[in-house]
């Protein structure tokens, strides 16, 4: 089966082991699991509220990789909606061929500062990938939860939204967004919870679920979660690549 990874990262300027920078792990996913496309954003882990310069350097890094491996890499422009130049940065990256936007923890996703971006993305017919997590033990920056996604989805029903990480806690998140047809969900970044994808599938069906590794995290947990499911190969293919293919309009590229 083909595999498109809807949620992968390069990491900017991070010290530490090479695997954590992203590229070796992306190569590994390509070689070991046969991942054919990566939807990549570059983030700066320590910078929870990155300034314009930091955002620019992140997206430059993604762009370099897009140019180097155009058949493999699709760029997701990383933005901080608190920065004044957000729409200019978006325009620049769209002109470079980026296919979507990634928002991390620099704003709650239903904050009014997101509204101009949401309206621009509807105009461009581009999806936004939202980091979403609900934790019992910590909160990371302005970390969105499923109720924030629901607010944004209700406010902009024509905006295509990808809620990352199964909402960070699938049992907390899925029921909140299940009636929002414009919200897709990726299974990146989990610890590989056995029943998680079955629960997500029961909530929203195969058409709104996407495979994502959250590279540099290894792809095996997220891939295993989908392969474990007792569903048809056709439905697994939707999660593994067809939904991403459609959402990111690969037929037009």
């Amino acid at each position: 089966m083909k595999i498109y990874d809807a949620h992968a990262h390069l990491m900017l300027d991070l010290p530490g082991e090479p695997w954590y920078h992203g590229r070796p792990q992306l190569k590994r996913g390509e070689e070991l699991y046969g991942i054919e496309k990566y939807y990549i954003s570059t983030i700066d882990g320590p910078a929870l509220w990155p300034d314009e310069d930091c955002i620019g350097r992140c997206n430059d890094m993604t762009y370099d990789f897009m140019c180097e491996r155009p058949e493999l890499v699709r760029g997701m422009a990383y933005l901080n909606c608190r920065n004044a130049n957000t729409l200019d940065e978006l325009k620049k990256r769209v002109d470079q061929g980026f296919v979507g936007v990634k928002l991390w923890v620099s704003q709650l996703c239903d904050d009014p500062c997101v509204d101009p971006l949401a309206e621009a993305l509807i105009e461009l017919d581009m999806p936004v990938l939202l980091h979403v997590f609900y934790k019992s033990n910590s909160v990371y920056g302005d970390e969105s939860r499923a109720n924030h996604v629901r607010n944004l989805a209700d406010r902009y029903p024509d905006l295509k939204i990808i809620m990352a990480h199964l909402g960070g806690d699938v049992y907390h998140a899925m029921r909140v967004i299940k009636d929002c047809p414009n919200v897709y969900v990726d299974n990146s970044g989990s610890r590989g919870g056995g029943p998680d994808m079955r629960f997500a599938y029961d909530m929203v069906g195969a058409d709104r679920l996407l495979f994502g590794s959250d590279c540099p995290i290894d792809a095996a947990p997220a891939l295993g979660q989908i392969l474990d499911l007792d569903i048809s190969d056709e439905e697994k293919e939707k999660m593994l690549w067809k939904n991403a293919h459609k959402l990111f309009k690969e037929d037009m590229r």
């Binding site: 082991e17 090479p18 695997w19 954590y20 070796p24 792990q25 590994r28 070991l32 699991y33 997590f133 609900y134 934790k135 019992s136 033990n137 910590s138 960070g168 806690d169 049992y171 907390h172 989990s190 610890r191 590989g192 919870g193 056995g194 029943p195 079955r198 629960f199 540099p216 995290i217 290894d218 095996a220 947990p221 891939l223 295993g224 979660q225 392969l227 474990d228």
Partner: protein, 247 residues
């Protein structure tokens, strides 16, 4: 291939969709797993776990699955239940879940349990994590600290130990103690979240790895994928799959 770390029963916090031995066997069969060392999820949260252990025994007694009893050594009847399991249920090992149940490996009542296990040459499973710790709401898992775990391993060289669902970071922390121990092992279920999960472990560490999935709490297929795709010596893969050094 044997799954040395799996469960049946109801998990108190969310549905697992795999609760019976037949459901577990079907999940295993789909992944080429032919048998398992199985514990009861109910016993992790029951106060008197005799009931859930008896239920587990009844469920697996006519199968090729072996009984891994889960206990809280602080329960006054713990040793009685373990002895009952040895005499009547042919238990293969005993599991503890200290971080989830809220006690230290230095608890003297655990020492009493270890004495019984040594007398009967039974392994001790130390489960470091159950579900994703980020999502523990009613019960917050606090896994043993590095020094606590190292000290326990160092002082129990005559007890066979299996570390279940230990993260790569936790294994790095205890690697020296683990390798100095004659029979301390760890399982596949924690091998994730970084590059080179198994293939980048040192050869001595690979020889301490056995196949265990934490099914159905964690994805079974994910554990299998590592063995299928990574560059690991075939003889090591065989040792991992059969647990040849553990049993």
């Amino acid at each position: 291939m044997i799954d040395f770390n799996c469960f049946i029963g109801t998990w108190a916090f969310y549905p697992t969709f795999v609760e019976t031995i037949d459901q577990l066997k079907a999940l295993h069969a789909k992944n080429g797993i032919t048998g398992g060392y199985v514990s009861s999820l109910k016993s992790v949260t029951y106060r008197d776990y005799f009931f859930s252990e008896e239920e587990l025994h009844e469920a697996i007694k006519d199968t090729n699955y072996r009984h891994v009893m889960t206990v809280d050594p602080r329960f006054p009847a713990c040793l009685d239940i373990v002895k009952h399991g040895i005499e009547n249920w042919d238990i293969a090992a005993v599991r503890i879940v200290p971080g989830f149940q809220g006690y230290k490996l230095t608890d003297t009542r655990l020492e009493d349990l270890c004495k019984v296990l040594k007398e009967h040459a039974l392994p001790l499973y130390i489960t470091l994590h159950m579900q994703d710790d980020r999502n523990c709401y009613l019960v917050q898992n606090v896994p043993p600290a590095k020094e606590e775990l190292c000290s326990f391993i160092d002082s129990h060289h005559d007890l066979k130990i299996l570390l279940c669902n230990a993260s790569m970071g936790e294994l790095e922390n205890v690697e020296k103690s683990l390798l100095a121990h004659p029979a301390c092992f760890f399982d596949m279920s924690g091998q994730r979240n970084r590059m080179g999960n198994v293939e980048y472990l040192s050869r001595p560490m690979q020889e301490r790895l056995i196949f265990g999935t934490m099914a159905p709490i964690l994805s079974t297929r994910a554990a299998c994928l590592h063995l299928e795709v990574e560059d690991i010596a075939p003889e090591i893969v065989e040792r991992i799959k059969t647990g040849a050094d553990f049993v």
